[in-house]
Subunit: 120 residues, 2 copies
């Protein structure tokens, strides 16, 4: 299997505005621009009483999020192949949600994952 | 940060039908049913000359895929919180794409990731 792209698992803590669909959609659009990607489709869903899920399909793969606003936590993914740079999204998310507390795990989809994981 | 759910990173190799949007959408719906999840939104995009991206927003988080049909490879994610069981998706994907060659990496979003990764 080839190297299929870089998939960042991004945990945002102490975040603000994580219950705001418009703010999340704007953050996604800003990530797309910063990373040099191309947006194809975007969708958000607001849960009651709180929480937002969002997905953006890109020419280079996707961005997704699920938020727990009551504890300031957002579970983001930024997966991009080709020349787009998903690491540029980290600073965008810090600014968008007003926090410096962000943890990132980088996965190399394709070759890296297949080498490092057991068959299921 | 709480435990926010189980996120499976699923690498499908030697797969068939990975250029077929309808087959991918049906596989997503079958995963949702098998895992005990609830589908809120589904979207697929067909690339030229080949390749499909797909996302499903669930009440329990999401499923996504990006395929490289020319090498029989699909990069799937199945992220579910609550009582839904994302591991049930693995057998569904094997059957849907006619392969036994599937690698899975399990990430525990929230507590597990924050503990194991450096701040960015």
């Amino acid at each position: 299997v080839v190297f299929a792209g870089t998939h960042l698992i991004i945990e945002v803590e102490n975040g603000h505005g994580l219950d705001d669909e418009d703010r999340i959609e704007q953050a996604f659009r800003d990530c797309v621009d910063a990373c040099g990607a191309t947006l194809l489709h975007i969708h958000t869903h607001k849960f009651s009483p709180q929480g937002v899920s969002g997905v953006a399909v890109l020419a280079e793969s996707h961005i997704s999020v699920h938020t727990w606003p009551e504890i300031g936590y957002g579970a983001f993914d930024v997966f991009m192949c080709g020349d787009a740079d998903p690491w540029k999204a980290v600073g965008v998310l810090k600014r968008a949600f007003g926090t410096e507390t962000v943890h990132v795990k980088e996965l190399r989809r394709g070759e890296g994952l297949v080498r490092d994981t057991a068959a299921a």
